[in-house]
């Protein structure tokens, strides 16, 4: 049951800067990313009604939550927005089961079948009779996510739901979150500064920079932009620059334990995946794992090679060059970024429009 478009225009003075954003979300996961202090959480809190914008308009289909001009400001408890905080914030005096049903007792919640499905999906059955103090961080966060969903929200707001968890707990939660967001037919707004989390979970992404929207659109399209990556990773983060590509499995080779995938820019070989042919696979190629050759090399252990031409050369201040390649056969896709040393670029005398081969040393599978 989708009500269409969720729109939020929020303007709010926040100490050192003013949050002024206009964002849109549809059913599916929309991620908000940006440096800490960019106003991500404030935007989410304004949507939920926890802070009141100075000006703006927040609506979902025909439901208006906030309208500064008409002085509409729906109270928090009427908005029916599920909110998952950085910490689980379970009610310590209630068992897990009573925490889960807190929202549904007030809002009328989801039906029994959905409730059971969600409890199974998040593997909560064995925890139901426990008190929150006897849960691990990951378990508590799973309960918090289920608690928000069982109140049958029209919109789900996730405020860095995994920020307080260690990497092992994150790996435990992520598949649950992924499975769940795929089944929901409601707008999910995820605030995060973890790029892996975003590329794995989100369909669309909005980039915040000091209270304004810097970029917004499809995940791969936005996150492959060099300016966006530099903004997200900051000055020191050239090592984290990379390119997301969406591919499709064309075949498996059981004897060599490999899987072949293709995308308009070429074909790649990755470690064997347990998925049928034609499944979609999202990959991320890190810029520092890509080497450049001016001629097609032979006698190399590297299996993955893509042909293209140089569209852009950016110098960083640490003796490194970021080379943006436009892949042959994939002109509309964003550039494939490679990081090489300044010295290498000079030796090869790289210049724009030159035809080169990108040698891909490793590929990480996003999902």
């Amino acid at each position: 049951m989708s009500r269409g478009l969720f729109t939020a225009h929020i303007r709010k003075a926040l100490g050192s800067f003013t949050l002024d954003v206009q964002i849109e979300a549809i059913a599916g996961v929309t991620a908000i990313i940006g440096a800490s202090g960019a106003g991500k959480t404030s935007a989410l809190r304004a949507m939920a009604g926890l802070i009141t914008p100075d000006d703006g308009h927040i609506a979902y289909g025909d439901i208006v939550y906030f309208d500064a001009a008409k002085r509409t400001n729906m109270p928090v408890e009427m908005r029916r927005m599920g909110y998952v905080f950085q910490e689980a914030l379970l009610f310590p005096h209630m068992r897990v089961i009573d925490n889960l049903d807190f929202g549904s007792k007030r809002h009328g919640g989801v039906d029994e079948a959905q409730r059971k499905e969600l409890i199974d999906l998040l593997a909560l059955e064995p925890l139901l009779m426990r008190y929150p103090r006897h849960l691990s961080g990951g378990e508590a966060q799973r309960v918090a996510i289920a608690r928000a969903l069982l109140s049958n929200p029209q919109i789900l707001l996730l405020d860095e739901p995994m920020a307080s968890l260690d990497p092992a707990r994150r790996r435990e939660i992520l598949p649950h979150l992924e499975a769940m967001t795929e089944r929901l037919h409601l707008p999910v707004i995820l605030v995060s500064h973890n790029i892996d989390e975003v590329t794995r979970l989100a369909d669309r992404v909005i980039v915040f920079d000091r209270g304004t929207v810097f970029a917004q659109g499809e995940v791969a399209e936005v996150l492959n932009r060099l300016d966006v990556q530099q903004l997200i990773h900051g000055e020191s983060g050239d090592a984290d620059i990379g390119t997301i590509i969406d591919t499709k499995i064309t075949g498996h080779d059981d004897s060599d334990h490999i899987t072949q995938v293709e995308f308009p820019g070429g074909t790649l070989t990755i470690g064997q995946m347990d998925r049928p042919v034609d499944s979609e696979v999202r990959l991320r190629l890190r810029a520092r794992d890509i080497a450049i050759a001016t001629e097609k090399p032979t006698g190399l252990s590297i299996q993955n090679m893509l042909k293209g031409h140089i569209a852009q050369i950016d110098e960083t201040d640490k003796g490194q060059m970021i080379i943006g390649l436009r892949l042959d056969g994939h002109p509309e896709q964003g550039l494939l970024q490679a990081v090489i040393t300044q010295r290498a670029a000079k030796t090869l005398s790289l210049k724009t429009d030159q035809t080169v081969w990108a040698l891909i040393k490793s590929v990480s599978i996003v999902n």
Binding site: L50, V76, E77, H93, G103, A148
Partner: protein
């Protein structure tokens, strides 16, 4: 000596309990509001409020009693007006209840404030996002979580009320059956030449009452701990 209570003794006991319970119950609503404001809010005059609340703890009780007399006596600032609408506090048990409420107030507010400060306000926010109105949040999230502080504070205030002497005798005097609580009755007995046996009996009664209050407090604390520590089933 261990005969049943005399009429005078049971009167003093009953009066002490009545004044203690009513004084404590009366101080709960303002105590909660003030503890909440002190724990959660910043406002001009917060320091002053904190100071005034704590005054009865440090002032000599006689001073507090005299201040009450100046304020709530028949010719007092508020007393005259209260008297004109038929509500007299001076020299009756209601005045004694007010005196013990004020003497116990700092203890109540302190305990409540501590548990309010220890309560994560974000739990209340989470409850709002799950559809609970502010009143609903107060009764189902806030109140159960500050309950240990509330019980501790109320029992302390009650115990303080039972022992109240100086402010009470100054404000509402020593009137048997009206304002003569256990400690005041004990004091009166000591003043009379033949009152030694009566004084001893009242002493034992006071000790029994104190032990009873302590046992109740201990039981409540343990029950609370037990509730919070229920193991996974």
């Amino acid at each position: 000596m261990l005969t049943p209570l005399s009429a005078g003794e049971s009167e003093a006991l009953w009066l002490s309990l009545k004044i203690g319970v009513i004084g404590t119950l009366l101080s709960l609503p303002p105590g909660m509001v003030i503890a909440w404001a002190l724990a959660r809010k910043t406002f001009p005059g917060k320091f002053l409020l904190d100071l005034i609340v704590h005054l009865p703890l440090v002032l000599p009780p006689v001073v507090t009693g005299y201040l009450l007399l100046l304020t709530f006596g028949r010719r007092g600032l508020l007393g005259g007006w209260l008297d004109s609408i038929g509500f007299t506090l001076a020299f009756n048990w209601k005045g004694a209840a007010l005196a013990s409420a004020i003497m116990g107030f700092p203890l109540l507010v302190r305990a409540l404030r501590l548990s309010w400060e220890a309560l994560d306000a974000r739990l209340e926010t989470a409850a709002r996002t799950l559809g609970a109105t502010p009143v609903d949040v107060f009764f189902n999230v806030t109140l159960p979580l500050i309950m240990p502080g509330l019980l501790t504070g109320a029992l302390l205030a009650f115990a303080r009320a039972l022992g109240e002497f100086g402010a009470t005798i100054t404000f509402v005097a020593n009137i048997p059956g009206e304002t003569q609580t256990l400690p005041i009755a004990l004091y009166s007995a000591l003043q009379s030449p033949s009152g030694e046996t009566a004084a001893l009996r009242l002493l034992m009664l006071s000790v029994l009452l104190a032990v009873g209050a302590l046992a109740l407090s201990e039981w409540l604390t343990r029950r609370q701990q037990h509730r919070n520590e229920k193991s996974p089933s």
